[in-house]
C-alpha cells in the first residue's frame, strides 16, 4: 500500500522538493474522497486546505446573479486544486464541484501556513510552485477572455 509520504513525494507538483519538506507536508496531509455531485468548497468560505487530485474531475464554477452558473475550468488527475489558503484573506473565490468521484490528498493550509512562517525556505518553495500554477491559469483565463472563437459576434 502506498504511503501518503510516497504519494506526495511522487506528485509532479512536489518534484525535486527536499525530503525533509515532504515529511513536513505529510504531517499536514490526509486522504479524502468526494462523491460525484458534491461541492468540495464554495465561494466565500474560509480557505484552509488544498488538494492533490489523484483521480476524478473537479469543475470550478461561479454563479453570476441572474445568469446561469458558469463552469470556468475543470481539473483532473494529477492537478492541484486551490491556492486561496496561501494568501489573505484565505477565502475561496469560486465553487469546486466534483463532477466525477474524486480521490485526493487534502493538505491542511492552516497547518502549512504555520510551518511556512517558521521555515521561510519551505514557504518560498511552495510560493514558487503555486506561482507557476497561477501563471498558467492566468494565461488560460486571458485566452478565454479574448473569446477567440467568437469571430466578433456577441
Amino acid at each position: 500500500m502506498e504511503t501518503l509520504e510516497r504519494i506526495i513525494a511522487e506528485h509532479p507538483f512536489f518534484a525535486g522538493l527536499d525530503p525533509y519538506y515532504i515529511n513536513l507536508l505529510t504531517g499536514c496531509a490526509a486522504n479524502v474522497r468526494f462523491d460525484s455531485g458534491t461541492y468540495i468548497f464554495k465561494e466565500g468560505e474560509e480557505a484552509n486546505e488544498f488538494y492533490l487530485i489523484r483521480a476524478g474531475k473537479v469543475a470550478l464554477e461561479i454563479f453570476p446573479p441572474q445568469r446561469k452558473p458558469i463552469m470556468l475550468a475543470t481539473l483532473g488527475d494529477g492537478e492541484i486544486l486551490g491556492w486561496s489558503w496561501l494568501l489573505p484573506p484565505y477565502q475561496w473565490k469560486c465553487h469546486a464541484h466534483a463532477i466525477e468521484p474524486v480521490r485526493a490528498i487534502a493538505l491542511d493550509g492552516k497547518c502549512l501556513r504555520g510551518k511556512c512562517e517558521q521555515n521561510h525556505d519551505l514557504g518560498y518553495e511552495l510560493l514558487k510552485r503555486f506561482g507557476q500554477i497561477m501563471e498558467l491559469r492566468l494565461a488560460a483565463t486571458l485566452l478565454q477572455l479574448v473569446d477567440v472563437y467568437s469571430n466578433g459576434r456577441k
Binding site: K57, A59, E61, K68, P69, I70, M71, L72, A73, T74, G76, G78, E79, I99, E100, L136, A139, A140, L143, Q144, V146, D147, V148, Y149, S150, N151, R153
Partner: protein, 285 residues
C-alpha cells in the same frame, strides 16, 4: 503527392472555376455546415493534399477561399466545412442539393504529412480550424502503420459548437490515438474538459522529440499553442500553422493575402512556426 500536383496543374486552369453540384449539406452546429460537392460535367476531381484550399464561387454573390475538410483518398468528391459569418458564406451554406457552385483549385501548401512518417502526429485544432486538419486525421488513419501515435486536441467555444462529434467518438476507439476535447465555456451539464485548448497539453502523452505538430484555429490560439509546444520541447520547425488572410486570386498575383514577405495563398496557408514566429509577434499585422 508530387504526381498529384502535376495532375492538378496539367488538367485544371487555376483561374477557371469548374462547375460542381452540391451533393449534400450537413448541419454541424447552429452556424456551421459541411458541403459535399461533385464535378458536374463528369470531369474528375483534382487530387488535393491535406491543408489545401479551394476558391468556391457562389454565382451572383462572390468567391470564397475555403479549406478542404474531406478525405484526400476520396477522389470523387470535395468536402468543405463552412461557418456562416457573412453574406457570401451564408449564401454558400444555403445552397440546395443539385445547385451549382464554381470551384477553383486546390491551392496552397498542404500539411507536410509525409515528413511525419514514423513519427507521432499531434493535431491541435480550435473552432472551425478543425476543418483543414480533418484530412490529416483521415490520412493517418488510412495509413496507420506509417505513423506513430495520433494525438488530437480540439477546443471549441462551447459544447454545442463542437464539430464532427460522431467522428470524434469513433476516433477515440482507434489504436494509438488519443482524442482530447475541451470547451472554453461549459454548461453545468457538460461533463468534459473546460479550459482553452492549451490546457489539454498536460493530459496529452506528447513526445516532442519524435513528433510533428499541426495547429489551426484563431491566430491568437495558434500563437499561444505554438509557444507552449516550444516550451514543452518541440523544435520550431516541427510545429506547423495554417494561416488565414483575405484572399482573392489564390495564385499570388493580387497581393490581398500578403503577410510580411509571404503570400498566404501561394506560399501557405501552411507554414512552419520558425517562419511565422517573428510575424506573429508583430502588432496589427
Amino acid at each position: 503527392m508530387e504526381e498529384n500536383k502535376v495532375a492538378t496543374a496539367a488538367n485544371f486552369d487555376p483561374m477557371l472555376p469548374q462547375p460542381y453540384s452540391v451533393l449534400q449539406v450537413v448541419k454541424e452546429t447552429a452556424d456551421t455546415f459541411t458541403l459535399t460537392l461533385q464535378a458536374r460535367n463528369g470531369a474528375g476531381t483534382a487530387p488535393f493534399e491535406p491543408g489545401q484550399f479551394s476558391m468556391l464561387w457562389v454565382f451572383g454573390v462572390g468567391e470564397l477561399p475555403i479549406s478542404i475538410s474531406g478525405d484526400p483518398s476520396d477522389l470523387g468528391r470535395l468536402v468543405y466545412t463552412v461557418r456562416s459569418v457573412g453574406e457570401a458564406t451564408n449564401s454558400l451554406v444555403n445552397r440546395e442539393v443539385g445547385e451549382a457552385i464554381g470551384v477553383r483549385g486546390p491551392f496552397g501548401t498542404g500539411w507536410p504529412i509525409h515528413q511525419a512518417e514514423g513519427r507521432d502526429v499531434v493535431v491541435i485544432a480550435g473552432g472551425i480550424g478543425f476543418a483543414p486538419l480533418r484530412p490529416v486525421i483521415y490520412e493517418v488513419l488510412h495509413n496507420r502503420k506509417k505513423y506513430g501515435r495520433l494525438v488530437i486536441l480540439y477546443g471549441a467555444r462551447s459544447p454545442r459548437e463542437l464539430l464532427y462529434r460522431k467522428e470524434l467518438a469513433a476516433w477515440v476507439r482507434q489504436n494509438d490515438t488519443q482524442v482530447l476535447v475541451t470547451v472554453d465555456y461549459g454548461g453545468l451539464s457538460w461533463r468534459g474538459h473546460v479550459g482553452v485548448v492549451t490546457t489539454l497539453f498536460k493530459y496529452a502523452r506528447l513526445q516532442p522529440a519524435r513528433s510533428l505538430a499541426f495547429t489551426c484555429g484563431p491566430e491568437i490560439m495558434m500563437r499561444f499553442a505554438a509557444r507552449e509546444l516550444e516550451n514543452l520541447g518541440f523544435a520550431r520547425e516541427n510545429i506547423y500553422l495554417s494561416m488565414e488572410r483575405n484572399m482573392k486570386c489564390a495564385v499570388g498575383f493580387c497581393g490581398h493575402c500578403q503577410y510580411g514577405p509571404h503570400f498566404i495563398c501561394k506560399d501557405g496557408p501552411v507554414f512552419s512556426y520558425d517562419k511565422m514566429r517573428p510575424l506573429l509577434e508583430k502588432y496589427e499585422l
